[in-house]
Amino acid sequence: MAESMSDNGKNKVEREIVLRMTDVCTYYGAIRALNKINIEIRKGEMVCLLGGNASGKSTTLKTILGYAPPREGTIEFLGTRTEKMQTKEIVGLGVSLVPENRRLFGRMSVLENLKMGAFLRNDDEIEADMEHLFTLFPRVKERLHQTAGTLSGGEQQMVAMSRALMARPKLLLMDEPSMGLAPIFVQTVFDIIQTISNEGTTIFMVEQNANMALSIADKGYVLQTGEIVLSGSAEALRTNPQMKKAYLGDV
């Protein structure tokens, strides 16, 4: 797979590496969920991780975050080895997650959820960042004082993304942002993700919706039973015959 094909006209080959996973293996007890995973994400890139159910996509994110620490291999985040670190330390380095199923703090208001996102920050730009987020997510501003648990699924997804962005992450992890959303809304969410990416946030996104993900990503990896079976630029993956057959629907 050619690693450095032209990606939406952006040239990212020279940029610094944000995340590098080398030969990572993760186990749940005796079961190996990830087998010798190699992933590289550079600054400003949007990388997607594709794969069917139970292929290990969420596990990959948990491994990066130290929730399911790897048994073998190394993980480097902006030059720091993190594979033995605790979650809170890794989060402190600047990794944020938009989790599977949103997992907002359902009994808090939307505003409080956003403040939780900025928990580690002490600077005086929190308000300004919030205002900026409201331009991306006008709906979030409208619902600011509503209890988060009473929001619709789509609104919750937006709050979950805003919450993660409030941390000013150096790497934003997203686990299936399109899950459970109406098709028309999926498009909206992906447009917003594209905007966030264009603003310079480095994104690593797990998706089942391969077509959509590849349409906005720079690079992709395909997981199958814990192994990376395909990788390359989004364009290369879109046109790959194997890929077409297995994930994109051979039209």
């Binding site: 979650t87 989060v91 997650l97 997992r103 703090f105 808090m108 928990f119």
Partner: protein
């Protein structure tokens, strides 16, 4: 079409097993009998209205102390889903620490009837502060030694550890302080009573102080939990520990903080119990601890306003119940614990409970 109809009918008629119907029937029967008994007693005994007013005020005083203690149970449960059965002993040790601080005040002449107003208040507040700090330390030690090593174990295991810790602390106190009761002496500002106009209703100054001080402490707690960053982190940990730690919250620190707050309130409660009952014993915390636990369950364990409401209700039931039922006053404990059993059977989630246990277990 048929499935919709089926669903509609099954919604319309929730399934109730015969045993359940019998149980509820039994519950209603008991309530009716109690109501009948109360009607008879009240119409026969003809207590003056002042009596009921004074008893209600006593209930409020009692309820305030229970509330301070119950908050400790409910805060810890909200975060760890564990009943800190040693909490009553945290209260008792705070009470003893307050006792010794009070002895100092006596030596300094602050407790004497002719002590200046300011010193007299210091003699009230200094033991409370000392009691709060002592209880805070005990609560932190409990968390560290008895609970943290068991975190992640099955739910029953920390419970057993808590009961063990309760006995350990109680009998350590027996060894150290002996069986003889330690007498609390009231500073001048807490002696006597205030009468409310010429209605014939009065409230002891101690009682009034307990009510007001509890309100202040609970207001501070409310602001802390609802308005501050660490309070928000506490609520986040209570809702979803994993997500909270993904926001960078140090979950261990929050758990310790929760025990600290519970301990502070328990210490204040312990010293107030001392002023109210004027004695402190090695087992002084045990029954109030159980009562406060009952109050927390009554209000919905894990729910902060619930603990306050449950405590006031329980205090009132205890103060008014025996007279209403025409029973000797010693039956107040029977009434309190009957309420616990009643709640556990008929509404395990408590008054304000949100079915937490099932959702999150």
């Amino acid at each position: 079409m048929t499935t919709i109809e089926k669903r509609a009918t099954s919604d319309y008629r929730p399934k109730m097993r015969p045993s359940q119907i019998a149980l509820y029937g039994f519950g209603i029967l008991i309530l009716v009998l109690l109501g009948w008994r109360i009607y008879n007693v009240v119409s026969v005994e003809q207590y003056p209205i002042q009596f009921w007013a004074i008893q209600s005020i006593n209930g409020l005083v009692l309820g305030s102390v229970y509330a301070l203690i119950a908050l400790g149970y409910t805060l810890v449960y909200g975060i760890l889903f564990m009943i800190n059965f040693a909490h009553g002993e945290v209260v008792m040790l705070g009470g003893f620490a307050g006792y010794f601080a009070l002895q100092l005040c006596i030596r300094w002449g602050w407790v004497a009837a002719d002590a200046p107003f300011f010193q007299s208040w210091l003699a009230v507040l200094f033991p409370i502060a000392v009691g709060m700090i002592a209880s805070l330390l005990v609560a932190m030690a409990l968390e560290r030694i008895a609970y943290r090593p068991l975190r992640g174990a099955q739910r029953l295991i920390p419970l057993i550890s808590a009961i063990g810790a309760s006995f350990f602390l109680q009998y350590s106190a027996l060894l150290i302080f002996g069986v003889t009761p330690h007498n609390y002496q009231k500073p001048a500002v807490l002696t006597g009573a205030v009468s409310l106009g010429d209605s014939g209703v009065f409230i002891s100054k101690t009682g009034l102080f307990i009510i007001l001080a509890s309100i202040v402490l609970m207001l501070i707690l409310y602001i802390l939990v609802q308005k501050t960053k660490i309070g928000r982190a506490m609520r986040a940990v209570a809702e979803d520990q994993e997500m909270a730690s993904l926001m960078g919250v140090d979950v261990n620190r929050i758990i310790v903080f929760t025990f600290v707050i519970g301990g502070l309130l328990a210490g204040a409660g312990g010293v107030m119990l001392g002023y109210q009952n004027t004695v402190m014993r090695f087992n002084t915390g045990f029954i109030p601890g159980l009562k406060a636990f009952t109050a927390a369950v009554l209000g919905g364990i894990g729910n902060v306003p619930g603990a306050m409401i449950g405590a006031i209700i329980l205090g009132e039931l205890e103060a008014l119940g025996p007279s209403l039922l025409g029973l000797p006053n010693e039956y107040k404990d029977v009434i309190a614990f009957s309420v616990l059993i009643f709640v556990l059977i008929f509404r395990p989630t408590g008054i304000l409970g949100e079915r937490l246990s099932r959702e999150r277990a």
